[in-house]
Amino acid sequence: MLTKEQIAKRIARELKDGYYVNLGIGIPTLVANYVPDTINVTLQSENGLLGMGPFPSEDELDADLINAGKQTVTTLPGSVFFDSATSFAMIRSGRVDLTVLGAMEVNDQGDIANWKIPGKMVKGMGGAMDLVASAQQIIVAMQHTNKAGESKLLSKLTLPVTGLGCVKKIVTNLCVIDVTPRGFELRELAPGVGVETVKNATAGKLVIEGEIPEIQF
């Protein structure tokens, strides 16, 4: 089983030098902590910042400088501010290479649901619908099952959809999965997790071929 930090650490391996990356709230945010020293990655925050730095020291704290999670942040050399229209221009035109976000459900066609639970207070989709409709590459970071123990990897979404056919890779506490035309293709297993565990926790079409390696940290 992977911890949240390990999920983030595994996703960080997907980063390539020169990537522009948008990280969602929650586990995705943690990915920033595991960017390899050997590469240069620029974080885009959709509220209008490219080149997001770490949290500020007390001295650096600036109410006018926040990220899309409304957290105070800092800039780095080469950072740039812009308005929300320009921010989503970048996103919709495919200039953001990778988006990492959480999900409530993903199905084996790559559809994602992550913004609304009928009957519960709806907070809104924020920038998620724009991101999933346009990012070059989308990785979902989430727990494999929900709090009731039910699979979040389905053949058919039960919740309102956020975007269609957009998820290409999923990293959960159990494994790494690629979403391909054949379904959920199991690529790697978390340490101590067996194929049967993944099978039992996956409701959608799971494809298992050959020996599945264990994620090494």
Partner: protein
Amino acid sequence: MHKVVQNADEAIRGIQDGSTLMLGGFGLCGIPENCISALVKSGVKNLTCISNNAGVDDFGIGLLLQSKQVKKMISSYVGENAEFERQLLTGELEVELLPQGTLAERCRAAGAGIPAFFTPAGYGTEIAEGKETREFHDKQYIMETAFESDYAIVKAWKGDTDGNLIYKATARNFNPMMAMAGKITIAEVEELVEPGELDPNFIHTPSIFVNRIFQGTHYEKRIEQRTIR
């Protein structure tokens, strides 16, 4: 140009029950604090507010919700706000949620004289219901229209008396597009200067978009998520 008004009370003159307002800001960052206070004081009701977020219970647009002045919110994320939730559940408040990029672009379109455009955001979701869809280059898009707003109320860092504006850091967010989009645009600034004091090469909102401007006071600039290294 006679754009300078003395204070927020004067700036919001003409806003009536039932008016549609755009309000700049992302969370509590870059919101027009003075004008929101003046709106609460004015008691104007049944407002439709176009704003990315709805503030928190006791700050930002939350103040207008507390005093039940808002009929409808058009936002991308309404977040944590107990009074908001209560009004929504009782049916006192109407909410229209839409993708953040679509919200930004519908403001920009209004300010650019573009009545409608196509975006991929929300295709295949309930956001697309009732909207025209179309394929371009093997990808599906939905048609979205420009907002119509009686007033846009924005907050800038510095402005000149002609109405030119500059914003600071991520307090820029939706403010520039909304400034373009209001039938009447009201700008409150932290510092009001004379024409010529701002570098013409580095102005974010050209004066032509601004109808009224004043220097605000007592900015609280509340931080929603105070995160320290």
